[in-house]
């Protein structure tokens, strides 16, 4: 439940017993929110410079770090494909980089199993930096024009905003697990 629980303990117990999360929400919400974040390019902001952080990618990382094993290992393939439709990068860069990210996250889980928030943030910052550098390199390949420094502001904003995204994902996770279905 969101917020502090109100009512007498009997009422709350009555509301929670015999209930479980609604499967559509429990499984579908991470996918839906990441895809919605991919569509953030249809926001009211018309930018003439790359300023918006890659929200969809950050969302993927946040979900993956919060609930390892909930998104399947192959989730990078369909989600990256969807992101490619809206991102404006050369088609396929999302598929490659998102699939690779899922594999790298698996490796990080293997090597550094016990992580705190700071380590998560560090890992996410490294991955976001690598993602931004690689996408801008691929975009530079497509236009044969080097794009070296344009991503710096975007990178800084992304690193600073990552904790905010994790808070948002934590909130969404509580919504995901609302006991809505009667058994």
């Amino acid at each position: 439940m969101l917020g502090p629980l109100r009512g007498t303990p009997e009422e709350i117990a009555r509301k929670r017993i015999n209930r479980e999360p609604w499967p559509v929400l429990a499984i579908g919400l991470p996918w839906a929110t990441i895809m919605l974040a991919s569509m953030a390019s249809f926001s009211p902001v018309i930018a003439s410079a790359p300023v918006m952080p890659p929200f969809a990618y950050m969302m993927l990382l946040a979900w993956r770090m919060m609930r390892p094993g909930m998104l399947p290992l192959w989730a990078g393939l369909p989600l990256g494909l969807f992101d490619d439709l809206y991102s404006g990068m050369p088609f396929g860069s999302g598929i490659v980089l998102w699939s690779a990210t899922m594999l790298v996250m698996e490796l990080i889980d293997e090597k550094f199993l016990w992580r705190g928030f700071v380590q998560d943030w560090l890992a996410a910052s490294t991955l976001i930096a690598a993602y931004l550098v690689l996408t801008s390199t691929l975009a530079g390949l497509a236009v044969a024009y080097p794009l070296p420094t344009v991503i710096v502001p975007q990178l800084l904003i992304s690193v600073v905003l990552y904790p905010v995204i994790t808070r948002l994902v934590a909130l969404l996770d509580r919504i995901r697990l609302l006991p809505l279905k009667r058994i």
């Binding site: 249809f42 926001s43 009211p44 902001v45 003439s48 952080p53 192959w74 404006g88 990068m89 889980d109």
Partner: protein
């Protein structure tokens, strides 16, 4: 945190196979992605159908957003206007007086122009805009600079057509779906526009730098005569962009040209105009390219 339960399959064959298949699909994803990426680097239009279909789906969201953007800007502008209303009022009064005087002299100049043209037998080509459209989205998170407009082939918008706002050039259409089209903004490094200095016709070209600024480069190298504040307009060479549309204002002159600001920031313009290609030759070439069906006019200046 502890390793999650489904990563420790134990002796369950089914769980072991599940994990193995996951790895196989993820690695296949990387391989397939590389193949798709190479295809799209070699032929950038290969997946345009998928992108335009996706843009069609997101069109209502973008339209709602575009309306919200104007309303939001209106609110801020209204609040801001209260703070210096008095000073602004006096300034505007003076400007209106000046503009009135200018309008009268402009009218007489126009009349004279028309008379002289009639004398010489020059017929102005009639160029009606193809569509007036909304900007409904942009690739704000990407180093490539595209915007999406809410009209497509059903309103006559085709790849290659120039797009402008009231105050200057926005870009050109690169992909068109039935109800949406993708515009390559002037700030994208792939977009090269032939320009001339408005004052004296000094020729140059403009290339996007992808960071909101644009690079103005002179065609005739030598001593750089560009000064901060110089305005560059389209020269019309190449036949695609009509001549005389403002493109850039030079801000920082350097050895080979200058860094400039956009004349028309896409963020400030809710409505933009899709214009026909300027010269008949360019129009004919675009039609020929479309008939061949191979590529859009991506390489055309």
């Amino acid at each position: 945190m502890a390793r999650s339960q489904d990563r420790r399959p134990g002796y369950s064959r089914r769980a072991q196979y599940g994990i193995f298949t996951g790895y196989v699909v993820a690695i296949l994803g990387v391989v397939a992605g590389v193949a798709v990426l190479i295809t799209s680097l070699v032929n950038p239009d290969a997946f345009s159908f998928a992108r335009s279909a996706a843009a069609e789906v997101a069109r209502p969201v973008g339209r709602a957003g575009a309306t919200g953007r104007t309303t939001g800007q209106g609110v801020f502008a209204a609040i801001g206007a209260y703070f210096n209303a008095g000073r602004q009022n006096a300034e505007l009064r003076r400007e209106v007086e000046e503009a009135r005087a200018n309008a009268v002299s402009m009218q007489s100049l126009q009349n004279e122009n028309r008379r002289l043209k009639a004398l010489l037998g020059i017929v102005d080509p009639q160029r009606k805009p193809i569509a007036t459209v909304r900007l409904i989205g942009s690739t704000a998170a990407s180093t490539r600079r595209y915007a999406i407009i809410d009209a497509g082939t059903s309103s006559g918008v085709r790849p290659g057509l120039p797009v402008r706002a009231a105050s200057g050039l926005i870009g050109r259409v690169v992909e068109a779906g039935p109800g949406t089209a993708r515009v390559l903004l002037v700030t994208d490094p792939e977009n090269v526009v032939p320009v001339k200095r408005a004052r004296d016709g000094l020729t140059a070209f403009v290339q996007g730098a992808s960071n909101g600024r644009i690079d103005i480069r002179l065609i005739n190298q030598g001593i750089n005569p560009v000064k901060a504040g110089d305005i560059f307009v389209t020269s019309g060479s190449g036949g695609l962009y009509p001549p005389g549309i403002p493109v850039a204002v030079a801000t920082e002159p350097h050895r080979d040209g200058a860094i400039g600001h956009l004349a028309a920031d896409p963020a400030d313009n809710e409505f933009v105009i899709v214009e026909p290609a300027y010269s008949a030759a360019a129009r004919a070439e675009m039609e020929a390219i479309e008939e061949r069906g191979a590529k859009s006019a991506a390489g055309e200046p």
